[in-house]
C-alpha cells in the first residue's frame, strides 16, 4: 500500500479493498498507459495517500468494509472538491448510478474491467472539455449583451460595462435576484442593484413611480428573468448541446446580504446605466457525468 512509481500519461490512484482487484486494475491501467501512483484499501488511508501521491484521477471500488466507495468518494471530494473519481465496480444499476452522480463521481466502469473501456472513460474524464471552456470563458458575454439589449429595448437608454473589478466578497446593493440555470452545465446568474436604481428603472418601465417596494422588487425579478432567458437562448443558439433553461427567480432584499456561489467559477462585472449600477454575476459548473 502507499505510493508506487512508474512513468506515463495519467497518474492514477486505485482504491479497492481487495489486493487481487488492485493488482488486476493496476495491470489494466499500466497497459492503458497510465501510471499507478498510489493504492488505498480503505477510508482510513485514503486521504493521506491521496495527499501524498496527488493523482490526476482516482478509481474507486463500491463494496468495501466499513466505509463504502460512495462514503470514500464523499470524503475525498470534501477534502478536494476538484478530485476526479471514477467508480470501478461489479454493480451497475440505476440506483447505484444515481448515488454515484449524487456524490460527484465522474465516470463508471463495470468489473471485470477491459482496458479499452477503462481508457475510454479515463480519457473522457481527463480530456479538456472544450464546450465547457466556451461557456466558462465566453458565457458572460451573452449575459452582458442580453443585459445591454434589454436595458435599451425596455428603457430606451444604454448600458456600458465598467472595468472596475467587483470585490471577491460581494455584498448586495439592495436587491439581489438569483436565477438558477439548468442544462448540460448547470449554473446561476445573479443581478444585483440598489433599491434606488430599481425604483428609477421601474418608473421608466411603468411610466409612473412604483406603487410600493413589492412592485419595484417584482420589476427587478422580471427584468433579471428576461436577461437570463435571452442570454441562455443566445448560448443555446451557439451550441444546442448546452440545453440551458432558467429556473424561476428568487429576490433577496431588505438587508445587507452577502452573495456567494460556492464551488463555482464565477465571472462578474458592473454595468453602468442611467439608473445606476447593476452587478452581473454568472457561473457554471461541470455537471456532466460520463457513463460507459
Amino acid at each position: 500500500m502507499g505510493e508506487i512509481g512508474n512513468m506515463s500519461a495519467f497518474r492514477v490512484m486505485v482504491v479497492d479493498d481487495s489486493p487481487f482487484s488492485r493488482t488486476i486494475l493496476a495491470d489494466a491501467l499500466q497497459e492503458g498507459g497510465c501510471e499507478v501512483v498510489g493504492e488505498a484499501d480503505s477510508l482510513e488511508s485514503l486521504i493521506e495517500i491521496y495527499t501524498n501521491c496527488k493523482p490526476d484521477l482516482v478509481t474507486m471500488d463500491i463494496a468495501m468494509p466499513d466505509a463504502d466507495g460512495f462514503e470514500c468518494s464523499k470524503v475525498l471530494r470534501f477534502h478536494d472538491p476538484a478530485a476526479k473519481i471514477i467508480l470501478v465496480s461489479s454493480m451497475k444499476d440505476d440506483e447505484t448510478e444515481a448515488e454515484a452522480r449524487r456524490v460527484g463521481v465522474m465516470g463508471y466502469v463495470q468489473k471485470p474491467v477491459d482496458v479499452e473501456t477503462l481508457m475510454r472513460v479515463i480519457n473522457a474524464v481527463m480530456s479538456p472539455d472544450s464546450l465547457f471552456a466556451k461557456l466558462k470563458n465566453g458565457g458572460i458575454d451573452c449575459f452582458k449583451e442580453a443585459l445591454a439589449q434589454n436595458i435599451t429595448r425596455m428603457t430606451k437608454t444604454t448600458a456600458t460595462f465598467s472595468d472596475k473589478e467587483p470585490p471577491a466578497t460581494y455584498i448586495s446593493q439592495g436587491i439581489t435576484v438569483v436565477i438558477g440555470i439548468i442544462g448540460k452545465y448547470p449554473g446561476s446568474v445573479i443581478l444585483d442593484l440598489s433599491m434606488e436604481t430599481a425604483e428609477k428603472m421601474a418608473h421608466v418601465l411603468l411610466r409612473r413611480a412604483g406603487k410600493n417596494r413589492e412592485e419595484v422588487v417584482s420589476m427587478a425579478a422580471e427584468f433579471a428573468n428576461v436577461v437570463a432567458g435571452v442570454a441562455c437562448s443566445m448560448l443555446n443558439k451557439k451550441d444546442k448541446a448546452f440545453g440551458l433553461r432558467v429556473a424561476p427567480p428568487s429576490v433577496f432584499y431588505g438587508k445587507a446580504t452577502e452573495v456567494i456561489s460556492p464551488n463555482i467559477q464565477v465571472q462578474h462585472v458592473y454595468a453602468d446605466t442611467d439608473f445606476g449600477q447593476i452587478y452581473l454575476h454568472v457561473g457554471f459548473k461541470k455537471g456532466s457525468i460520463l457513463w460507459m
Binding site: 438558477g180 440555470i181 429556473a247 452577502e258 456567494i260 456561489s261
Partner: protein, 153 residues
C-alpha cells in the same frame, strides 16, 4: 402544490443527513405561507426545473449554520462561516435536493433537475419567490434548527 407533494423532499432530508454525520432528524412542523420569507441568517437557494418548477430554500441562523458545518466536518471548530463552512452547508443543500429529484422520480415525477446552490447571508433580509405559496418544513437536526422552504409549481 399540496402539502403531501413535499414528501419526497422530506424523505431526501431524512435520508441524506444521516449520511453526512447527523443522528437525529426530527420534523417539527409543516405549514403553508406566502411568497415572502424572512432570511434568519443563511439561505441556500436551489432552483428546480422539469415537471415541477421553482425553488427550494434551506434556511438557518448563522450560529446554526456554523454548528451544522462543524458537524459535517467531523466536529472541526467553525468559529466563522468561512469558505469551507459555506461550501459544506451548500453541499448539504445540493445533496438534499439532488436526492429529492431521485425521490420524486420514484414517485413518478421524472426528469427534475436542479441548479447549483447560491448562498445568501444576511439576517433580517427578505426573500420573495416566484410562487404564491410556499410550504415551510421546520426540522430539528441534532438540536440544530433548519427550515426548508419549498416553492414549486
Amino acid at each position: 402544490m399540496d402539502v403531501n407533494s413535499v414528501n419526497p423532499i422530506l424523505s431526501a432530508f431524512a435520508s441524506v443527513l444521516p449520511q453526512i454525520g447527523f443522528e437525529k432528524v426530527e420534523k417539527k412542523s409543516v405549514a403553508m405561507q406566502g411568497a415572502v420569507i424572512e432570511n434568519i441568517g443563511v439561505m441556500i437557494n436551489i432552483g428546480m426545473m422539469g415537471p415541477l418548477k421553482g425553488v427550494i430554500l434551506i434556511g438557518m441562523d448563522i450560529d446554526s449554520a456554523k454548528r451544522f458545518a462543524s458537524k459535517m466536518m467531523m466536529g472541526m471548530a467553525v468559529p466563522e462561516l468561512d469558505n469551507l463552512a459555506q461550501s459544506a452547508v451548500s453541499e448539504m443543500g445540493n445533496m438534499v435536493c439532488a436526492n429529492a429529484c431521485i425521490q420524486f422520480s420514484e414517485s413518478g415525477v421524472i426528469g427534475l433537475d436542479i441548479s447549483p446552490p447560491t448562498l445568501l447571508i444576511g439576517a433580517g433580509g427578505m426573500v420573495k419567490v416566484s410562487v404564491p405559496k410556499v410550504i415551510v418544513v421546520k426540522f430539528l437536526v441534532d438540536e440544530i434548527a433548519v427550515n426548508v422552504y419549498v416553492g414549486l409549481y
